[in-house]
Amino acid sequence: MTRVARVPDRHGRFGRFGGRYVPETLIPALVELERAYQEVVVHDPAFTRELRGLLRDYVGRPSPLTYAARISDVVGAPVYLKREDLNHTGAHKINNTLGQALLARRMGKTRLIAETGAGQHGVATATVAALLGMRAEVYMGQVDVERQALNVYRMNLLGAAVHPVTGGTATLKDATNEAIRDWVTNVRDTYYIIGSVVGPHPYPAMVRDFQSVIGQEARRQITKMAGRLPGMAVAPVGGGSNAMGLFYPFRHDPVDLVGVEAAGEGLQGRHAASLVRGRPGVLHGAFSYLLQTDEGQVLPAHSVSAGLDYPGVGPEHAYYRETGRARYEAITDAEALEAFHRLSELEGIIPALESAHAVAWVLKQAGRLPVDAPVIINLSGRGDKDVDQVAALERRARSGEVGG
């Protein structure tokens, strides 16, 4: 097994990836954030107590690890689901927003901003802002505002303002640009809650640490339930926060780490597989893999799952890919939609379309996995948010139109 170094280094580098590619205006804010993170999150037991208490009493942690008996029969190996879908707000996102909002409050910031694609991170941010009595403003691409109207309503209901972004492709990457522009402008009183293990240092490491609760619990739970470590841990990868949260506590263990990206309409067509098909470059403050033209223009991503619909990926995943510590695979829209049905029918669990990618990849390995090595799938979110979209896709497909 490949050993990974202690990353990031003091320059925010994971091997050659990561760094701080942002305007000079933001550098002092990142230095301040890094210092606050070290002092408060890493070294202040009172902060840790407060965060743990809220994760338990508000989010509902620890989330269960569920043995999926019927899926295991199909796959021919024991499959366990890490149930992030059972968290308050229905996904893993809140592990991170809660940690960052508590930190923001300790830093004396009064205003929270966030970017969101499908709206899950926006909802999680709006939720903790309500909980802590803070002001939240969320940037969301106009295209996503239209296709995720329910989440826009949720954010408003929770008291957050949603700003539609019309520039560029009007999706997550442009919402992120706009959030960074807001932060550059209001850096003195505003805290930017980035939703994934992306962005300039210290965000990738900080978000990883807040999400690592997933892997820490899973490691304890599998050891108790199966009496051993898993052979494999599998998670969907868009920006990569739920995957890094699961992988990180297993990084020194003999466990195969598999990240599943979105192959969209197929790797020859429109997709979101930045690690499988992209090239190294800089997007949103970090050097990592991204989908781009040979002249460095960022390409729009595509996935049926809005949460994977992002042309970049966290720099630590780029590092894991390059060192071989994890491997990255891709699953098409059609395969993910099939897994959406299979998990619903076989286990009574409707997965988020993001999570369905990981389920689909494991289903594809049926008969090829060691019969006694547990497989953990990160069920990063619940699928209620996707039911309308999938139903509409299937109606269109049945009536003979092209789906997608």
Binding site: T25, T185, V282, Q297, V298
Partner: protein, 305 residues
């Protein structure tokens, strides 16, 4: 300073005059000799077309620009406000290609003020940093401004640029620490002072903090300081120019170009001339183009052709 006389002479045949470093220094020296700040307008390459870039740059020179910033279109310009974003988007939609930019610049650079490229880092990396710098230098570019490459990340590109006598322009913001200002205090070219926390854009009123910021930079930084972001009108340019060594105007000019897409060079010439007029010292009449001044100054500083 990396630009020794020897290397300038060696570089000279590849560019229109001397090295990038010397040409930028000469532009600021010439403005200072005229008792005013250097004027540095910004245009987006490929907006409205790449073919119009040369005429726009020459028009800027005729109207009295001392240097010109040429924006390299990028899909995700996170330091730019809506005006410059839209210009970049239209350039990309119109089929702008980085590969064609350098030949367009080579055609224009001979008769234009010294050119500084404003580019985000990803197109540079994708093209290959060494190749990008080689082609920029060979096309007659004098320096680079990379808004998403802060000083902490700029070491390798800065050294590669210096080897070619190109200036990688450091930036300073209102949030910058004194330690940062000390780190950029000396060196070739100039320091780009980002006047406000924020993105590029047209602002109706000058933030009163801008002047104090300019004074702070002037007190700490020994090379020329040019101030940009949010300077839009002749009066604002005059006010900032009284405190700084240079004034950068982007969004307001790009917007003026957008209002005269059929004849962008006329929009540039009128706009730049109006700003330039406002920046003249009270006792001077702007009869001679600064572009002529620059040539004279360059001739004094280093070998011409």
């Amino acid at each position: 300073m990396k630009g020794t006389k020897g290397s300038e002479r060696r570089e000279a045949p590849k560019t229109t005059a001397s090295s990038g470093t010397a040409r930028i220094a000469a532009a600021f020296a010439s403005a200072r000799a005229g008792k005013r700040a250097a004027l540095m307008p910004y245009v987006t390459a490929g907006y409205p077309t790449l073919a119009s870039l040369g005429p726009q740059l020459r028009a800027a020179g005729r109207a009295g620009a001392d240097l010109v910033e040429v924006g390299v279109p990028f899909s995700d310009p996170l330091a730019d406000g809506p005006v410059v974003q839209q210009a970049a988007e239209e350039a990309l939609r119109g089929g702008y290609r980085l590969g064609e930019l350098f030949s367009a610049i080579r055609e224009a650079a001979r008769d234009a003020p010294p050119l500084v490229l404003l580019t985000y880092i990803n197109p540079v990396l994708a093209y290959g940093a060494e190749r990008f710098l080689d082609e920029a230098r060979d096309a007659g570019v004098t320096g680079l401004i990379v808004p998403d490459l802060p000083l902490v990340e700029s070491g390798a590109l800065g050294r590669a640029a210096a080897r070619r006598d190109l200036v990688l322009v450091p930036m300073a913001a209102p949030t910058s620490t004194d330690a940062h200002l000390a780190a950029v205090a000396e060196g070739p070219g100039f320091v780009y002072g980002v006047s406000v926390t924020g993105v590029t854009g047209v602002r109706e009123r000058l933030d009163p903090e801008v002047l104090a910021f300019a004074d702070r930079l002037k007190a700490k930084i020994r090379r020329p300081v040019a101030i940009g972001f949010g300077i839009s009108t002749p009066n604002q340019a005059r006010e900032v120019g009284a405190r700084a060594d240079g004034v950068i105007i982007g969004s307001a000019l790009v917007r003026a170009i957008g209002q005269r897409l059929s004849c962008p060079e006329a929009a540039v010439e009128e706009f730049v001339a109006r700003i330039r007029q406002a920046m003249e010292p009270d006792d001077a009449t702007p009869t001679r183009s600064v572009f002529d001044n620059r040539r004279i100054a360059a001739g004094e500083e280093g070998p011409e052709r």
